[in-house]
Symmetry: C2
Subunit: 241 residues, 2 copies
DNA sequence: CACAGGCATTGATTCAGGTCAAGGATTGTT
DNA sequence: AACAATCCTTGACCTGAATCAATGCCTGTG
């Protein structure tokens, strides 16, 4: 049984602000859950009964067009929450790309807890704002960056996220496939592959099998990504006011 | 002097949940402000001292790359809030594209009010979630839709927003320039113009000068936009839980 | 260990949308 | 009314990334 006190995701998720008693209260309405790699546990359009808070593993969040085109709107990791709804149904689908553990909440119960512990609500507002800012960065990437810039930005942002979670920023772990990366960056598998090869040829990165990239020349990568505001990239707990 | 009781934005912004006393409390820390068309009143990177709540007019929110490429992340209208910050500085720039009126709050004071009136915080969480879902839709558009699909989706979403604000959904008002539309949809001015011309040629729309579009064949436009989930498009007050 | 199925790379070719360039239509100003 | 100044449209051409098509490489399974 998972206990919140030892949760490795605790320092950067919605539980962060809670003391031991409040944590126990939260735990009482929560159930631990595990999903195998490949499991789609949220389906766009299905009744949005639950909310999830990831504690380990990586999840892809995506939307599909009628003809099968896919846009991945984010890769979720420990501390991220999942389950946005629109009119009572999920706004997107979510599939585990590695084995995943998470806390599961039923909506009505969580709503009750919000009234009891407004701190949680505030914490979630902060998380939502951060996600909104990340979404805006992604719009810049999708609307205005070249394939090369997209790949460079992607590697840097994965590296940053790893560091923020207390893991090494290099080499970068890529749990997802080339196809997933393409669906996240608005490209095709082939273009992703070609761009990796190109950066490898320039000695900017080194490919370590299919799921790892060693950054050999960080400055060059930052230069290519063209995002002046790199360090400003993610204050963990900005609040709206 | 503007009074909250008669505010036309009240029914769809963060003040929605407040009673008369609470509204007065809010008004006490707020100042009315007006900006002429063309005024950039939020600059990315500047100290984020204020938060704004639009009451009329249209604002473009955008981010710039070092070489001048621009991505507009949203057009804000009555009821929308502005002023997201990251590490104490604004996360984007904002320019009025029509004359704009808004309520201005100083951050520290608003923070104090959040503690007093948690209802506001909840209301803002709902607004933020809605914005996040809109951002995800925009990622699908930017990453995976064709120019034709983008333009059709754009016209429909403007029409929907007008209806939600109690205005006619047709003809659609376009206060922004072709260049702004391009910067929002990840296209160029020329492609926007050509696509309008093409849709006009197919009798799907009718151009009414530079700032109006008459939708002649709504079904065709919906078909072209390819967004199955049109009616689900924006429950005004979905809450996180 | 072998082998099957998915995943990744690479090459050849195409095409949607970008770029460059020239007029035409609005809009606000004196 | 004449004018800039800006915005919009249209045309000709180009190019970055998509598509089509092999082939090679992992990785998990019996």
């Amino acid at each position: 049984m998972h206990t919140c006190e030892h949760c490795e995701a605790r320092s950067f998720n919605m539980c962060n602000a809670l003391d031991a008693d409040e944590l126990a209260r939260l735990a009482s309405i929560m159930s631990d859950q595990r999903f195998e790699a490949g499991t789609t546990f949220i389906e766009e359009g299905a009744p949005a009964d639950d909310l999830f808070n990831l504690t380990s593993g990586t999840v892809k969040v995506f939307k599909l067009l009628a003809d099968g085109r896919c846009q991945i709107t984010g890769f979720m990791m420990a501390g991220d929450f999942l389950g946005l709804s629109r009119g009572g149904t999920y706004a997107y689908s979510a599939t585990a790309i590695t084995p995943v553990t998470c806390c599961r909440f039923q909506r009505p119960q969580l709503r009750g807890l919000f009234n009891e512990l407004p701190k949680i609500e505030r914490q979630m507002l902060g998380l939502a704002m951060n996600e909104l800012m990340a979404a805006q960065d992604q719009m810049v990437l999708l609307g205005r960056k070249t394939a090369r810039e997209r790949i460079a930005s992607f590697l840097l942002s994965l590296s940053d996220r790893a560091v923020r979670r207390g893991r090494p920023g290099n080499p970068v772990e890529l749990p997802m496939t080339r196809g997933d990366i393409a669906d996240y960056l608005g490209l095709t598998t082939e273009t992703v592959s070609r761009t990796f090869t190109q950066l490898k040829g320039e000695a900017v990165i080194l490919l370590k099998g299919n799921h790892g990239v060693d950054i050999q020349d960080l400055d060059a990568l930052v230069e290519i990504a063209g995002q002046e505001d790199r360090e400003a990239c993610f204050h963990p707990f900005d609040q709206i006011a």
